[in-house]
Symmetry: C2
Subunit: 454 residues, 2 copies
């Protein structure tokens, strides 16, 4: 429906009162359109990547003094002619300027439409386009770096390369079909197997990276569990308060405070309020209760708190047996270390317990180190390729499964036409990741989640 | 304390997740500083008003792909070298970029520091600098236009011109003093009087414009009053609901919804919750109660509601007598028109009552027109000079008073030295408006109210 000839317009900066706001225009006529409402130099004769001071007017009404930046196709984000109007950061001014642009023929951009145009015009592939959205919402520096790497290319090139090789084989096999009864074999089956193994090795490393990528992008749902009075709330407060004390020192960059979230080593740990769990008076007794069990299963990490002042060693080992059955990574934390005797402490340390005092804040850093060690992560570095996007992860798995079928088919000696079909299926899933295979629905679904102006 | 040689940095756009964010740098070394963290072209050799694509890095860590805009002194807002970094609109990225800039020697800008530098470097006078802050927070298009006109010069030039003529007289009079006993008169007293009359005529028109300017900038505190069950709440809801139904159609430009505010003809009417008033069961009886009286006195407009279904004509006229004494502009509104007879309606209309039905929404537009007619305002136009700033208003009044003293002094034949002192006093107040006379305290007070990044 939307013609690329249309000039689209949107506010590109965050809304609110501020020093400046930037309104973005894109489309082949965008510079001519801007000229119609601009008093100053003739924008249509200026070079790309230049900035011009002037006044935006609506007939004889001056709206604001602005700076206009020009970007000429193909040297713009969208690869179309583009204009950025930098005005005073007032919602009233932004509205008036957009209104006069609409009056002269622009239309409001839909969410993600600038990036969609950039994708459709070949600036980057779909996975890179999605990284543009991810980098904006990244809540930690690691998430930012992972998105940045993906935006810069990440796995795109390698996947495109492997896909091309697979297409080559698919073509050869389809060529064989044309020869029908002649029993020719243009596509050497051994070479095909080798290629598929190569592709699968790469796919599996990407699939595997999603464990970490997902943690970096979405954080770790964490539960603090333990018997009543083991000190669960005290520990939660101790962990969160340290976090809250770190106030962002640079104005305008404070993250919205998220209840019950702790940033640790570039990962966010979201403490889940497992209501069902909290209501249960004894986690061990209640382990059979379906709801509590479900709550714990949703966690990616359990901090299980033992009360050193109440439980004997035997009791604690019995508790641990129950936790093990949950099949969720857990850390054994012995609380109230100040009330345990030396022998118990020695024994528990030997058994891998982290011994703390939540109320006296003893050994909290050690606990944090232990939490982090569950996620084999340092800083995400330049060029590290991590899959962070659930859509990519699913397509990668689907590709891998389809390739398994190709291999299985070859082993069981299926005919070329079925083989070709399975390969085409793999190519389809692989192409969905980078956007070489798309549907309007897929694109709409992806870009509608973008913010307006992006 | 702050050296203009320092490079200052701040986020210039609103905070929050968005397509792009703009970080602003100013100071003589700002371009060299940006170059230190930029991979791309050599920024230091590029022309002013050009835009360059590249990557912001912190050592071997790439932070984001950005566009860097260069402004070379004196062709920038601050008249210093300036750089704008347009990055992805993520608080994490903004923070990382500002951090690396700080690491290389920039410092965080204080509120309004960019505009303060622009003022100190002679870009505009103080009244114009203040208009920059006003235009950002303007909540209506009229307020925006009034601020725009002031930013464009407004009364600045005229005041500066009149001040210079007055300075000329002051110098002549001071010269007379040097001649001591000789009884010379360099400054012709008649010409001085003429000038002062001319200045006062201008000042008075400005002082007078503050009534409207203040209304445009700050809105009209409005009270709906009347006897219990006259329909006050119903009318308030009717007026407000129509307003709330008008949802801003352009994303990113929605004003924060302000409780109990109605925009009418470019003016905001803020309905005051006069708690004292609402508690009073009978406004007329309670008129003597100090607190209610005070609440009503704070209003700039009273919509006084008469209950046509309950009160007789005589009672209504008696009520009006009480309202008159408040000495606040009021509109007589007869509510429940559907329950009044034709004769009463005819009589009340003749007496200037606005007759409505708040519940049935009858004649509401007529009431709105009547409300607006109390403020003789159409659109604020290009070049209209309005005083909207309380500080300017006060300085104008002080100037005018000091000039009265000069005239009075001349009439009573005071000596030249006293005359010179009064003229100097006028010059001082006049100079404060445009910033030709400033103190650090005055500047700090003005600019500290700006937002950061402006």
């Amino acid at each position: 429906m939307n013609s690329p000839d249309e000039t689209i317009v949107a506010l590109a900066t965050a809304q609110g009162v501020s020093a400046i706001a930037v309104i973005r225009l894109s489309g082949k006529d965008s510079i001519e359109l801007a000229q119609k409402i601009f008093k100053g130099k003739d924008l249509t004769t200026q070079a790309t990547h230049t900035i011009h001071f002037g006044t935006i007017h609506d007939g004889d009404r001056n709206i604001d003094e602005v700076l206009v930046s020009l970007f000429k196709a193909p040297n713009s984000f969208t690869k179309e002619n583009s204009v950025e109007i930098s005005c005073h950061g007032s919602p009233v001014i932004v509205k008036e300027i957009i209104k006069v642009l609409l009056k002269h023929g622009a239309r409001l951009a839909t969410p993600g439409e600038f990036t969609k145009r950039a994708f459709l015009n070949g600036r980057f592939d779909l996975a890179q386009a999605e990284a543009v959205a991810d980098i904006i919402v990244a809540e930690t520096d690691n998430a930012r770096q992972a998105a940045f790497n993906q935006m810069r290319g990440g796995f795109s090139k390698e996947i495109q390369h492997l896909r091309e090789e697979l297409i080559h084989f698919a073509s050869l096999i389809e060529l064989e079909l044309d020869f029908g009864e002649e029993d020719v074999e243009f596509a050497k089956r051994d070479d095909l197997k080798k290629l598929i193994h190569q592709i699968q090795t790469y796919l599996r490393s990407l699939i595997h990276s999603f464990d970490l990528g997902n943690v970096i992008k979405n954080g770790v749902p964490t539960v603090i569990a333990g018997k009543p009075n083991a000190g669960k709330s005290t520990l939660l407060n101790t962990l969160l308060n340290e976090e809250k004390a770190i106030v962002s020192e640079i104005p305008g960059t404070t993250r919205d405070v998220i209840e019950d979230e702790m940033l640790l080593g570039g990962i966010s740990f979201r403490f889940m309020d497992t209501a069902g769990l909290r209501e249960t008076t004894d986690i061990v007794e209640a382990i059979g209760v379906a709801r509590t069990y479900e709550n714990l299963r949703k966690a990616s990490l359990i901090l299980y708190l033992f009360d050193l002042s109440q439980s004997s060693l035997d009791e604690m080992y019995k508790e641990e047996e129950a936790i093990k059955k949950l099949n969720v990574p857990y850390i054994k934390v012995g609380n109230k270390i100040d009330r345990a005797d030396a022998a118990t402490i020695k024994q528990l340390e030997a058994d891998g317990f982290v011994l703390i005092s939540a109320s006296q804040k003893t050994n909290i850093q050690h606990l944090k180190d232990k939490i982090l060690s569950h996620f084999h992560i340092g800083e995400v570095k330049q060029g590290d390729v991590l899959v962070t996007n659930l859509r990519h992860y699913q397509s990668l798995k689907q590709t891998n499964d389809a390739l398994d079928r190709v291999l299985g088919g070859m082993d069981s000696g299926i005919t070329g036409d079925f083989l070709a079909m399975d390969i085409r299926q793999s190519l389809h899933y692989l192409g969905e990741i980078t956007g070489q295979v798309t549907t309007d629905d897929l694109l709409d679904n992806i870009f509608s989640k973008f913010c307006i102006g992006k």
